[in-house]
Symmetry: D2
Subunit: 332 residues, 4 copies
């Protein structure tokens, strides 16, 4: 950690801050420049609150040299984490398709989609039971009944199921859910993350609309620091000024996260673009970028989907996409 | 609501969508342009899911004419809402200072700050007990004990107290809290909003880092649709590419929200800028822009604040600021 | 074009605006809703200034139904444009590598790199002679001499050369340049675009850091409206809040632009990410997304490159990348 | 300047980079941490290209301690710059209104507006002659004739005139213009900045839509490094995800720029918000934030303005605004 002091720092102030840092068990190297004195702080600075340090009157700026995430950090864990979802592996060279409708709507719908995406090669079935909607007047999901329908589809097809949790008090309903999804809007719902860290369920953690990769990893760290290392990261588009797509899918996040962390990284091109017509191109691109899996919205009847229909593929379109993705995977 | 159909829409498709809309109790006017057919949908379209409509293959784009928020909408409620916080009024020409430390730390700290900010004219005391921190390794607040200390300060000074809730299961701890704050990271924690709507407590709803004003009002609508109209909106800075300030304080939000809604709007220049040196200028600017109140971080000993010290004012600085704000208010 | 009138519009105001629109040769359909009157404006609205219309007191909002770009619009020109660069074709299924150093530095450097990238399959050589640098104290390029060195490399290798223009008064120096690049910072330098439209040179138009795809196409329209249809669009990353990459490479732009326009679209993953280690993954991703070409920075000695070295590949790395890209292209 | 080396840096690499830095006349302090070696580079590092340094394989990250702008930097020039515009002073406590129509349209229009805004207290008349428009089909300004009309208004009223330059080859037309405006889209048109630096005309430099304050100051530095210190900075809104306003007016830029630089800072709330109804509130806010002046669009007949009418005030509205601003100025 580097602390740049203000130009007018007095020797007494420098001594005082240096003594304080050393009292935290840290080592301090002092460089005196033409305008600024710079402190090099050495040791385990992970628990040092940079905002506190910056609040000292004598400090102009603080820069971390080592990242504040440790459990998620590839520097400390060079090998890829492979998350095991009931025998299905993701990460470390294992690639999976997670597919299904935006919302669970009816027994027929979820069963039909499950069978079709399984036939196309998907190993995990996604479907929203609790739906975060911007408007209180929009469809909010089938809730507990939606999870029941997912469980029936799981029983019938053997697929693992993935669905979103919006509040920790619903956790008991997720007993038979294989992967619990934390949505973009809850990426920094720290109480929720902490509680999920106390389970051993695989957690699919979606990047928030305005969150940096570092913040995504800090949120993973909340889960991991509570004891659960089964975290799958998901890039699903960030909010920018561009309006022709629903979000801006940041595919650079895939290779960048692979450098920063050992956790698996999947991509959701359906939410990431918001247009079904763009999903195939972006799914192939995500695959080529090195993603460990794809989350694709598939609906047997997109025009009547109760939400996000504009971005859902038909099962036929998914068949073709899955085949194309496999061909890209083969040449990588 | 306007639905622009694709250039190649057939008469049968146009008839089918028109019939469907009419079956929802809506009236439809059809305009046939040189390239596109445009449907004007008339009636109460608030419950029509635009995403569903856009997912129809024949639809190119849907534009709402009336906003989907109704309870919060000034068009339907032209008079300013005045929120009453234990006798202290905010909105409708009533301006209040909400001041206090970022985090409650010790009995002495919160009491000292409370007395100082009260003397300077603040009517509400803020202080974090549950703190949302990006890192699990940073100080997370005194939690229940923090609320106790706030309550003691309330008893001693008579000030109303404002503190943040992070999870609905802690609600019982907030019985004596006068205003419950929903932080930026929870602005779209819809389960939390819905539950807070079942209380009658004033809710201070902070704008999310990447949320539009329309989304802020939709979140207010969640609270109001559940039965609680005591919502105070708060602009606290949005996330942009600029790095010299912690966030970009969007003061245009103040007059724009006043056009869109009847709810009171306060501004938090401390989080909005992240630098104590910028707080006074931005507090005056927010006042001049028409804010109904200011939330200011004040700490008796900023360099040792356990969080966000860099943006806290000293009590002396707050004295001067409060006096300056009053002078601006007088000439408005 | 749809004009939504304010709720309180009088019949006289409605008549007056309708008459004015009809006097422009447009047809107007009037829909009267519960709250708003909506005008459907039909005809060639491309020359109607929406800002002027919105400035009328009675108008609440104006929405275009047809895009204001016509020459670049795929709706009017369904077939892909193939730009011919001295016999090398790009677009319409023709894919090209454009490679070379960020800046032309020395005769040896540019010649070495040219020979290496040609051997790897690149058909066009890029190299900056006039360099836009944020700081006036940074290296600004070899200018006219840089173009001479590029021309020598062209003579020696037969490759087409691509280099950036920063000011229209330097146009005479570009006589032997095959493709003139307009950089991101000049994407809305309309005077420059208009003048380049008077030449018949292929123009490589880079998307601005904060420009939408629609604005990119409007800038292409400036060139095309002046008479030059040889425009190649380039996605090179946009500015967002994310700091781990230099820019956020928006690969959705590739399939989205292919829907909106018939012009070829290339991707620059070097500037788009700012990190050499991310370039291969993002180049493959861009290819899989359907790009018509790639612009890659290659330097024979990256650590000593005079600018942007951090994002340059070595010739060996480029060899591997080009082979991998070709394998992706084969399976598409 | 701080250079953080990669964890695996060898002693030979450290020696080599240290020797290279010392050969540039710089002093280097070496700190060896638990994971990283950190080099503190001391001396005049303004001319050191950080990108070059970061491109070295052994370097992980480079952080500047001193800003790369020197002429514009308040650290080196603590006193406010006062720009003299034909006897009218701006900066250092001198506040000016710059008002006028978006575009110069007719002799009557510009004369009427000039007389009205002068009567209200404006000392400078603004009006666009060359207009940067996103669409080639929109009105592009009266060009040379527009400047003639401005000059006539100057002769009649004695006001200084401010108008935008879009291309350096038009400079001769600006001989009688008092302040040359560089628009947001040209903020990084470095060739233009450099040429304007060779004149002694006051330059009104508008912040680009996606440019940081540091980049704004680097662009000012281009002008100043060429010899012209008469630079007035202008905040005019940045591009964000928010859509209810045309841009997001970043008023924190005012106090922040006052800390960073000695140059005067004015604010343009008309472009900054895009809505006439928001202009008064934001003009007052900008004044309270400490702006050295305001640029306000005023049109005698806004509904017929040829561009940007939606954001123009009427002369009567400007009268009231100017009076309100003066009252705010009095209490500051």
């Amino acid at each position: 950690m580097i602390a740049v002091l203000k130009p007018n720092a007095t020797q007494q102030q420098i001594d005082s801050i240096t003594a304080w840092l050393r009292s935290q068990g840290l080592d301090v190297h002092i460089s005196t420049g033409t305008q600024h004195t710079v402190l090099g702080v050495i040791g385990d600075t992970r628990n040092v609150d940079t905002e506190l340090l910056e609040s000292l009157e004598v400090v102009e700026r603080v820069t971390r040299i080592t990242e504040p995430f440790k459990s998620a950090n590839r520097k400390f864990h060079p090998d890829d984490t492979v998350v095991d979802v009931g025998g299905v592996k993701i990460g470390g060279g294992n690639f999976q398709f997670i597919a299904g409708p935006c919302s669970v709507e009816t027994p027929e719908q979820i069963m039909t989609v499950a069978q079709r995406v399984k036939a196309a090669g998907a190993t995990m079935l996604r479907g929203g039971a609790f739906k975060p909607r911007t408007s209180p007047y929009d469809f909010q999901g089938l809730k507990a009944h939606g999870i029941e329908l997912l469980c029936e589809a799981k029983k019938a097809t053997g697929m693992a199921i993935v669905t979103e949790i919006m509040s920790i008090d619903r956790l008991p309903l997720f007993a038979d859910v294989d992967v619990i999804q934390v949505g973009a809007r809850n990426m920094q719902n720290f109480e929720l993350l902490r509680e999920l860290g106390k389970t051993q369920k695989p957690i699919l953690l979606k990047r928030g609309l305005a969150n940096t990769l570092k913040e995504l990893l800090m949120s993973a760290e909340y889960i991991m620091a509570s004891g659960n290392s089964n975290v799958i990261l998901c890039e699903r588009g960030i909010r920018t000024f561009e309006t022709s797509t629903r979000n801006t899918l940041d595919l650079s996040a895939v290779p960048m996260l692979h450098e920063m962390t050992h956790l698996p990284v999947v991509v959701d091109p359906s939410h990431g673009t918001g247009h079904a017509s763009l999903v195939p191109a972006m799914a192939l691109a995500a695959t080529a970028a090195g993603a460990d899996g794809l989350i694709i919205e598939v609906h047997n009847d997109p025009p009547h989907a109760l939400c996000d229909g504009a971005q859902s593929l038909t099962p036929d379109q998914f068949d073709k996409l899955a085949a194309d993705v496999r061909r890209i995977r083969e040449v990588l």
